[in-house]
Amino acid sequence: MSIVELKDVNFVYGQGTPYEINALKNINLTVEHGSITGLIGHTGSGKSTLVQLLNGLLKPSSGQVLIDGTDIWAEPKKIRDIRFKVGLVMQYPEYQLFDETVRDDIAFGPKNMGLDEEEIKKRVIEAAEFSGLDSALLDKSPFDLSGGQKRRAALAGVMAMNPKLLVLDEPAAGLDPRGRREILGRIRTYGRESGTSVMIVSHSMEDMAKYCDRILVMCGGQLMMEGTCAEVFSRYNELIEVGLDVPQITKIAAALKKHGVDIGDDVYTVNFALARVAEFMGLSLDQIEGRLHHGS
């Protein structure tokens, strides 16, 4: 059974008013347990709407949203339980911090779940560790933290609910390159170690290629592509056509192909490209790397 399944989902904003917008059109998709999925699409493609459907913040105009095999709107009164199952980290989550200490803020979710003190304590410490938040910061006011630390505290607040699916809307937006690497790396490790399925919304193709197993591409409210990184990025031309990008290295591979050096269309990380180049030149990977370092 898959963790997420959408069946013919449509979503219309402002139904019945002159400002009606059909944000999602006939979306069908599945996300497997334990996978890390990337969701790409440009602004207004319906990503954020899709994400809010997953934890029941929005209700589909038609169609079904199945989480772990059950329709989340089968019992509308129990929608809160779905929110604990599907942890959503919104864009710029640091703006949701409110409590006196970081510890209390992280505990907000677990407290709402009705867990006992011991369990909450344990979860706060675990979540802080996963998100890379120094335990010395736990007793500070969240408003005294730096931007990156606030982001981690907010992330920990959702991780502490131990969701089965963790959905993150642009978790690295506005962070510097090191902050990006750190937070995305932490999220990936968290997913792998806790067995939580993860879905990341992002604009950055490099990040997607590096941290995700599968990629969903949204365009104009529709699901345009779905597959592994290699499958999606090999459809290079289509992605460029709708105004999306592909990783730099994929572009280089495409340019090489034009000049007669075909290392394949499914190249999306530098290491993978190196291996292919080595293969093409009939050398071992070590030899190639040796040449790179000696500048010959």
């Binding site: 934890n55 929110r83 959503l88 919104m90 703006y95 949701q96």
Partner: protein
């Protein structure tokens, strides 16, 4: 979005009312409100209804938008009607049951009050809020109050504050929406439980909201200073308001309407409102 605020919202258009000078519109609204309270009998109320219909037609605002804006008023209307019907005493008894006495005067007053409140709302929204951008409105207000500057009243500062406040209403609503969603995603239970519980549930929303409002205010003041804003003294305007003949006619109409209603009140027979 989550909060619906069609009341007090600008509705794009190019009608005569849209184009009128905001100062004239402000004065006209005051005149119209006075006129509405002048009406005392059936015929003058009939004239008022006609004038309201005329305003709607001239403004070319869809009737759907106007009825939508009226929705929050329904409770007040019902309450007013009930109060008047059951409590007002008169000469002509219509219905009697136990301690309940209903008089013709009560029913008539109830109807008049409903008409009065409805027209009050239609009038102010059609002449002002639907047809005037908030910026034009505060601009007009500032220039109307210009004479008060001589009394050292910071008119420009007041109107700048008003402009900024109006400008940020939609932004803050959007922000509230986002924060509410973020806290709901963490299992916050909003809008259930007793009063204390509900008040407590607001803390996770209000604190981030205030913080972001302060942050925005700070950023805005920096941005304004970067563009050399230094208050109203010596400040010129990009678009100077100019009074045209049409504007005078527009305001004049309301004076004529008032005169007509006073005449009708005196000379036409018909049911007279007690207050």
């Amino acid at each position: 979005m989550a909060l619906d605020i069609s009341i007090g919202q600008y509705f794009e258009g190019s009608s005569v009312i849209h184009k009128a000078d905001p100062r004239v519109k402000l004065i006209s609204v005051i005149l119209y409100i006075t006129v509405i309270f002048l009406a005392k009998n059936m015929f003058s109320f009939a004239l008022l209804i006609l004038s309201a219909i005329a305003l709607i037609i001239i403004s070319r605002i869809p009737i759907k938008i106007i009825t939508k804006g009226m929705k929050p008023l329904i409770l007040i209307l019902v309450f007013t009607a009930i109060l008047n019907i059951f409590w007002l005493q008169g000469d002509t008894l219509v219905f009697e049951f136990g301690i309940i006495h209903i008089y013709l005067e009560g029913i008539m007053t109830a109807i008049f009050m409903i008409i009065r409140i409805t027209i009050l709302l239609i009038g102010t929204s059609v002449i002002l809020t639907y047809t005037t951008t908030p910026i034009a409105l505060t601009d007009g207000l500032e220039q109307l109050l210009e004479p008060l500057k001589k009394t050292k009243l910071p008119v420009h500062e007041f109107s700048m504050m008003m402009t900024i406040a109006l400008r940020f209403i939609p932004t803050l609503i959007e922000e509230t929406d986002k924060i509410m969603n973020a806290q709901k995603a963490r299992g916050a239970d909003i809008g259930s439980g007793g009063i204390m519980q509900r008040a407590k549930a607001l803390i996770p929303i209000l604190i981030p909201l205030f913080i972001s409002a302060f942050r925005r205010a700070d950023e805005l003041s920096t941005a304004m200073e970067c563009r050399c804003y230094r208050g109203g003294e010596g400040r010129t305007r990009m678009s100077k308001l100019k009074l045209r003949a049409g504007d005078v006619v527009f305001a004049g109409t309301f004076i004529v309407l008032g005169a007509l209603i006073i005449i009708i009140n005196i000379y036409a027979p018909g049911f007279n409102l007690a207050y």
